[in-house]
């Protein structure tokens, strides 16, 4: 029988642990264990007689060692999550903990993980999921930022102007857009540090070499580090501005053509496949809906749809729109949560409404919220009043419905970092939905 040479003995806060160098190697070079057993430090793990003392909490160490051994995270009820996170940060294992925290996102297997009470003064405007499980909530002039541990960070504000949209550029940076204030350079857009809330830089709009103040609207960005925003300037300078995320400099501006709407857009969506930007301006912000696809390379509106001149049966009023690149279509939703589809390859402008029964009709709550749409890995999500519906398959069959008993109607929701965040209109409560880790066998 061979002698196991890579055994390692730890004394953590008085408690003895034994493991192997192989297990510790899972922690990676950028962790305490990786550095500790690097050859630079003369601590060869094969000397089993020596034990390495670590002056830390043994219970948490046990949980983290188990994480390294199995790749799974089980936090005993007597250990507060925050304590464990702090210990993981000490060892350089926080990323491991975050990755093991929940299973891969699946709209049909979501569980309500937590609900968090905001302390905002008024109705929420938007909630946005961060790439690593954090989120930010915009209401009035404030944006509250939560990291993936749901720790609250210093809130963000752009000159205390009313916030219209917020977006996570990466796990460290948030861009918010806000209304301008007359006569001053306030408002517009700014990029903030997510952890400290400090303003890194503001994005300016220049028309004819003159910097102008503006109101920033819907936001989007692409993988080329370009940032897009709908803009309303003082002298009818409406359109879509484009900035470089890295330098903060304006690099382009798509002016709103006459008889169309870009500067007031409710939603921007970058389409990677076609290198185009979807711009949707919807009722009731405007009297009519305008959805278009912009190609910035040759300043061309390559596809457009509008309900101008359509019969005024506002049952079919489009309330939100989302482009689905896999099927070359745009999905729209009306205020009764009927889904409609348009083909991006044809310019016919016909909405093909799905024949789904109107589940919502007739039971409108006191404070209705307009539906919102989201798409995540082939699953379509639609919020309506106090619940979120999940649709799957080529024909978008309703497969799940998420509902929480309190908080009132859902005014916005967002998916990211393996989580779904839903913001309720009453009391600024937001819910966090997660998929649990997969079964053991």
């Amino acid at each position: 029988m061979g002698v196991q040479k890579d055994r390692v003995r730890f004394n953590v806060g008085g408690k003895i642990f034994e493991t192997t160098a192989t297990t510790l190697a899972i922690a990676g070079r950028d962790s305490l264990f990786g550095a500790m057993f690097d050859e630079n430090w003369d601590l060869q793990p094969n000397v089993t007689s020596t034990e390495h003392f670590i002056d830390r909490n043994p219970d948490c160490f046990a949980v983290l060692l188990d994480l390294l051994r199995t790749g799974e995270l089980y936090i005993p009820s007597e250990i507060p999550e925050k304590l464990l996170y702090r210990e993981a940060l000490f060892y350089g294992l926080l990323d491991h903990v975050r990755a093991a925290r929940c299973g891969p996102f699946d709209g049909n297997r979501l569980h309500l993980e937590r609900s968090i009470m905001g302390r905002a003064p008024g109705d929420g405007t938007a909630i946005r999921a961060g790439p690593d499980g954090g989120c930010c909530v915009a209401h009035g002039s404030m944006v509250h930022v939560y990291d993936w541990m749901l720790e609250e960070h210093p809130p963000i504000s752009l000159d205390y102007q009313r916030v219209n949209d917020a977006i996570w550029i990466d796990s460290e940076s948030i861009v918010i857009s806000a209304c301008e204030r007359l006569g001053r350079d306030d408002g517009g857009m700014g990029l903030f540090s997510a952890s400290t809330g400090e303003l890194r830089y503001k994005f300016h709009v220049t028309h004819d070499n003159q910097v102008k103040s503006y109101t920033g609207g819907a936001l989007s960005f692409n993988s080329d580090y370009k940032l897009f925003s709908s803009c309303k300037g003082r002298s009818n300078e409406y359109g879509i501005g484009v900035w470089d995320q890295v330098t903060g400099k304006q690099i382009d501006f798509f002016y709103e053509p006459p008889g169309w709407s870009l500067g007031d857009a409710d939603k921007l969506q970058w389409l990677h496949g076609t290198n185009c930007l979807l711009v949707a301006t919807l009722f009731p912000r405007k009297d009519n809906c305008y959805i278009s696809l912009l190609d910035f390379r040759d300043k061309n509106m390559v596809w457009s749809w509008s309900d101008v001149g359509a019969p005024a049966t506002d049952e079919r009023r489009v309330r939100d729109a989302i482009a689905m690149e896999e099927t070359n279509s745009v999905c729209v939703v009306n205020e009764y949560e009927d889904l409609g589809f348009m083909d991006l390859r044809s310019s016919a402008g016909i909405v093909r409404w799905s024949s789904r029964s109107r589940l919502m009709k007739g039971k409108m709550p006191d404070e209705p919220c307009y539906p919102k749409l989201a798409l995540h890995e082939g699953q379509l999500f639609s919020s309506m009043n106090d619940s979120i519906s999940v649709f799957c398959g080529p024909d978008w069959v309703l497969t799940s419905r998420l509902r929480n008993s309190h908080g009132g109607s859902i005014c916005d929701f967002s998916i990211g970092g393996d989580r779904l965040f839903a913001l309720h209109s009453e009391e600024n409560v937001f819910d966090i939905w997660e998929t649990r880790s997969p079964p053991i066998v």
Partner: protein
Amino acid sequence: MSSGPKKRNFQIEAFKHKVVVDPKYADKTWKILEHAIHEIYNHNASGLSFEELYRNAYNMVLHKFGEKLYSGLVSTMTFHLHTMSKSIEAAHGASFLEELNIKWNDHTKALQMIRDILMYMDRTFIPSTHKTPVHELGLNLWRDNVIHSSKIQPRLLNTLLDLILRERTGEVINRGLMRNIIKMLMDLGPSVYQEDFEKPFLEVSAEFYRAESLEFIECSDCGDYLKKAERRLNEEIERVSHYLDAKTEVKITNVVEKEMIANHMPRLVHMENSGLVKMLLDNKFEDLGRIYNLFRRVPDGLSTIRDVMTSHIRDTGKQLVTDPEKSKNPVEFVDTLLEKRDKYDKIISLAFSNDKTFQNALNASFEYFINLNPRSPEYISLFVDDKLRRGLKGEKEEDIEIILDKVMMLFRYLQEKDVFEKYYKQHLAKRLLSGKTVSDDAERSLIVKLKTECGYQFTSKLEGMFTDMKTSQDTMQGFYAAHAAELGNGPTLVVHVLTTGSWPTQSSITCNLPAELSALCEKFRSYYLGTHTGRRLSWQTNMGTADLRATFANGQKYELNVSTYQMCVLMLFNNTDSLSYREIEQATEIPSSDLKRCLQSLACVKGKNVLHKEPMSKDIGEDDAFSVNDKFTSKLRKVKIGTVVAQKETEPEKQETRQRVEEDRKPQIEAAIVRIMKSRRVLDHNNIIAEVTKQLQSRFLANPGEIKKRIESLIERDFLERDDSDRRLYRYLA
């Protein structure tokens, strides 16, 4: 004790967020870490406890002493880098780089260990305060305190450049050390590598190669110089692969290219006795390949070579085609052209990597000089004639194709393709009628090539000639089948019925045929006109041949192969022994020039003189007398008596052909004018000239004066009219 206002029993302290137990806690902890950093730099880390140091660094950050930790790190590391810098400065001579390398390795190792200890700060404090991460900080400090120290920066650069210079002059240097030092500069960031090494390196290299190229060019010929340049280029590429940044390759090769090639192009190309022309003359494929590959690398390099090659081909080609000696033998003339063309083809394919622009230049040059000699079309046709008469015997089919393809290449260069056609027709007619063509396949293959090149029109008459030959064969079979009984033992007649127009026009003076034959001819005429109504036959006695059986006085029998004229003359001697020139002329009515040639070949050619002439002389006089040469002997039973023919056209014949060509061009030019005007309706003079020239250029180069004459002729015949207001405009009249 009296109590006073100063006395206080208790103190009210401001509320503290953090209770720091030991006020000197931070200093103490930092001392431990500082000591550890010292020990790490002193190679004494084995006594340190990683866990303790990690915990201490963690605690400092946790207790908000991150700033102190960070600034402490900066100053401690700076201190050690100063020490290292001093020791590097102190290193003598060659050990300088080695010392620098050792210290760099020490520093990077220490930096890694320090980063290990301060990992928690690196992960939490540094991102939130936007400070430089530890690893990057360590590199920056090394750059600022060591590499950019005033005593090291210039010395390092000079050492590196000196080593490279020594390597260029043939010394062996420590490439491993070079690689490590250059890698260090690259690790410090692209700007450090570029500013501290690459830029000066390129400047020094430019100077070096500028001087070297001047030295080389003074003492070597073009081929050797290019070999040296090529070697230098490869050395630099190799150097980059061994110890420089891969991105430097294109920059340093640009320097070498510019200094060694671009700056000396004209001088190299025109170098006396070794330049490009010499290489072309001597077929130096290797040198030519080198010059091509090197010049390709620099702007205008290839065009320089191409221009020299073009003017060389033009000059030598012009000499060739205008050399009266060469023109004496058309076959040799064309052979020389083909040789020249092969030579350059080979050069372009072997040395110039089949460069399209060079091929085009070659073609343009040939087109230029071939047309300098107005007889080129005739010569090319004569060359083909020669090949198809005899030259192709014994050659394989593929070889025939190759030769024909080459001829077609020359044909393509011709501007006056219609002149070629004229000659070709004459030569083909002779070949067909005298049965001299060796390969029907080769003939047809060339026709197909001409057809693909110039279109159906160009070859329709030539094809008509072949058809006539075939039909005649059938006709003769029919004739003999119909008259088999009556024709028993008489002479055999073979008639080729030629369609007028398809064949070169002939002066149709029919000579008097011997009685035996004229009867036979009459039979054929009636047979032919009986089967084909509405046709007219006339005899072209100047084009036929005859086989005669002759018995001489000494009893010798020979079979003589002669022309129709010769046959007519010889037949006269069946009835008499001697005839004067005038008698012969009267009896046969052969045109005198032809008769003279005919008699010359019968009486004056040694070995074939079946007639005896009085007086004996080379030329035929009007008063000469002829008799059968009874002493005629020949080794062969079959004697072929050729007609003395000028193979090449004589000057008046040439004029005549030329005139016929001009005559034939007139309707073609007129047709082109009418075609153009029909579609354009109104056009000015210059544009008509341009369009007509363009339309006809596949056949010949139309002369603008001739076009003008044709336009005037068309105006006279009411096809066109001049515009009333603008005299330069022509209108088409439907």
